[in-house]
């Protein structure tokens, strides 16, 4: 019958974090999902079930914007996966070379864009690519490629890809650092064993190192996915809330911002905004689940 007395200190230690986290993160998250099921009629909130989602997916006015933003977002993500992560891995492979000098210097310099805010990055590239200032065309001219120049950010067909590449430029430091860390944990004995079998240089990278760092590549892929599907700042800073030209750079983040906050003549609609947030939540959840259950558990891990 000697029940241990209640350990108050555990509650005291947990309470602040749990309260703030629940009140400011978890509760609003579910409240947003709940708001997506309502609409405003004559200034009062009315429950409408899944009607907002129906509007979002099938009403031509909304669905055209939604599918456009979603498609753009996938393209944005694809460019990150195809350009940012391979460059990051290649840089990390070079940096982790045991006899490379100045490795710390390169590493710190290449990481600098990652610490800059989107506002700086967006405007800096906007100025550099601007045909008015002419840095980009004159540099292309210097290597004899002037004919390739176009006002990339102003053309519908190039703007999104250009911005994705700017974002790649900014964030390449993150995969570089994570892969670099993973490469450092590979024991020297394994590489030496490979060397005895005649596997050196690039072959050693493809046959020994790459399989060993696959789990880290999985992590950077899911980080890239989550980051890209709630991206907003770069597009907003360089193209504005309208994600011009003609919505060609619109992604889910800018679409949600415009919808719930309003812009110029359109009034903000928190309920449709919540519906878009709900769609984003579902997409991110599906991505994270595919990673956790589909990829992470099947990936072969080697004990080092």
């Amino acid at each position: 019958m000697n029940r241990p007395r209640f350990r108050w200190h555990i509650l005291v230690f947990l309470a602040p974090a749990v309260l703030v986290y629940t009140a400011v993160m978890i509760f609003p998250l579910f409240n947003t999902l709940r708001l997506a099921l309502y609409t405003e009629i004559d200034q009062s909130r009315v429950f409408v079930g899944l009607q907002n989602f129906q509007t979002l997916f099938f009403d031509p006015i909304w669905s055209e914007q939604f599918w456009n933003a979603l498609g753009n977002n996938f393209w944005f993500f694809l460019i990150h996966m195809l350009v940012q992560n391979p460059i990051g891995i290649a840089l990390a492979a070079l940096l982790s070379h045991p006899r490379l000098r100045f490795a710390a210097l390169y590493r710190s310099a290449i990481f600098i864009p990652t610490i800059l805010s989107f506002v700086i990055v967006g405007f800096a590239w906007k100025l550099i690519l601007s045909p008015i200032w002419g840095i980009a065309p004159s540099m292309l001219d210097a290597v004899g490629l002037k004919s390739l120049f176009a006002p990339w950010l102003g053309k519908e067909e190039y703007a999104l890809t250009t911005l994705a590449l700017v974002s790649v430029w900014q964030f390449v430091g993150i995969p570089m650092m994570l892969i670099y860390a993973a490469l450092l944990t590979i024991p020297e004995e394994i590489l030496e064993a490979g060397e005895i079998d005649g596997i050196t240089g690039t072959a050693a990278f493809w046959k020994i190192k790459l399989p060993l760092i696959l789990p880290s590549i999985g992590i950077i892929s899911i980080l890239t996915f989550v980051g890209n599907f709630n991206a907003f700042d770069l597009i907003y800073a360089s193209q504005g809330a309208l994600a011009g030209p003609d919505f060609s750079t619109d992604i889910l983040g800018t679409f949600m911002y415009r919808t719930f906050f309003g812009f110029q003549l359109q009034l903000g609609d928190p309920h449709m905004g919540s519906a878009i947030a709900g769609a984003m939540f579902a997409i991110i959840l599906v991505g994270v689940c595919i990673y956790l259950f589909g990829i992470q558990t099947r990936m072969r891990r080697y004990q080092l």
């Binding site: 400011v24 409240n31 947003t32 840089l91 800059l116 805010s117 800096a124 590489l191 700042d233 907003y236």
Partner: protein, 279 residues
């Protein structure tokens, strides 16, 4: 040592590739910084030249100082970042200690609950956060931002710190208990000083995203007196699109504090990332 892996030609190629990428990474920052010290004419005539006696001009900085309240923005950013980091570290360490030190019912569930937020971005809940801040009157106050960033930073902080707290020796804590120290004293006097390196890692991880965030300042605190430096420079640059001197100077002024912080903390940051804290 083993010569098979090291061939001088390869080394040159590797340095070549790294130097090329370093130039790509630094070029835009460099162009912005040098042009911010030039006269308008020089900016357009020779954008890639360094400022010299002839082209040197501070006109852009003068405009920025006159028009935008950059010191206020800077101060706001400092308050928000420092306050959020303090709360993340204090609350995060307390929760991490509770989870790693004590066996209690619901320990595992609580850990998983707090870990949910690592993968789900807080921005998804923006609509309800704004509604809540309006209802509580916190909108357009720095508190709104501090609360949001604290909530956003806690999950990863708890996760990283509890990993480290598991490594603190039980003997030390038990010795404290035998000496009659309370659980609170053990935590603040014995455990916290030992996990200081992990706290520094958490701090640098959270610092940059908080300082650079545009989304929440734009939505929760867009008033003139609560603008952060990121939002302030965004709005300022938007207004002065045609005044190239002012735009370039404002950009440089936004770059410099981050660069200084980076130079101070880069070793910590890189060590934090490479210690595999994100696993």
């Amino acid at each position: 040592m083993n010569k098979a892996r090291h061939n001088p030609l390869n080394m040159v190629a590797m340095h070549g590739a790294l130097i090329l990428y370093t130039l790509i990474a630094l070029f835009p920052v460099f162009v912005i910084l040098i042009n911010s010290f030039k006269s308008r004419r020089a900016i357009f005539r020779e954008p890639l030249a360094l400022p010299n006696a002839d082209s040197f001009s501070m006109i852009g900085y003068e405009t920025v100082m006159k028009q935008g309240d950059f010191f206020l923005y800077f101060q706001n950013s400092m308050i928000v970042t420092v306050a959020s980091l303090s709360f993340i570290l204090l609350f995060g360490a307390m929760a991490a200690y509770a989870l790693s030190e004590y066996q209690f019912k619901g320990n595992l569930i609580m850990g998983l609950y707090l870990a949910l937020g690592i993968m789900i971005p807080i921005r998804i809940g923006t609509v309800a956060i704004l509604e809540m801040m309006v209802a509580t009157g916190l909108v357009n106050s720095l508190w709104a931002l501090i609360l949001v960033y604290t909530a956003q930073g806690l999950p990863l902080a708890v996760f990283i710190l509890s990993e480290f707290m598991r490594q603190v020796s039980d003997d030390l804590k038990n010795a404290g208990r035998i000496d009659g120290l309370s659980e609170y004293t053990i935590f603040f006097r014995l455990v916290l000083p030992l996990v200081r390196p992990a706290m520094a890692t958490v701090a640098v991880f959270n610092m940059i995203p908080i300082w650079n965030d545009l989304w929440f300042p734009l939505i929760l605190a867009p008033a003139e007196e609560t603008k952060t430096l990121t939002l302030g420079s965004q709005v300022f640059i938007g207004q002065f699109v045609t005044d190239w001197n002012a735009v370039l100077s404002a950009l440089s002024m936004a770059i410099l504090p981050v660069l200084v912080l980076y130079v101070i903390f880069s070793r910590q940051l890189i060590r934090g990332i490479t210690s595999g804290a994100v696993k």
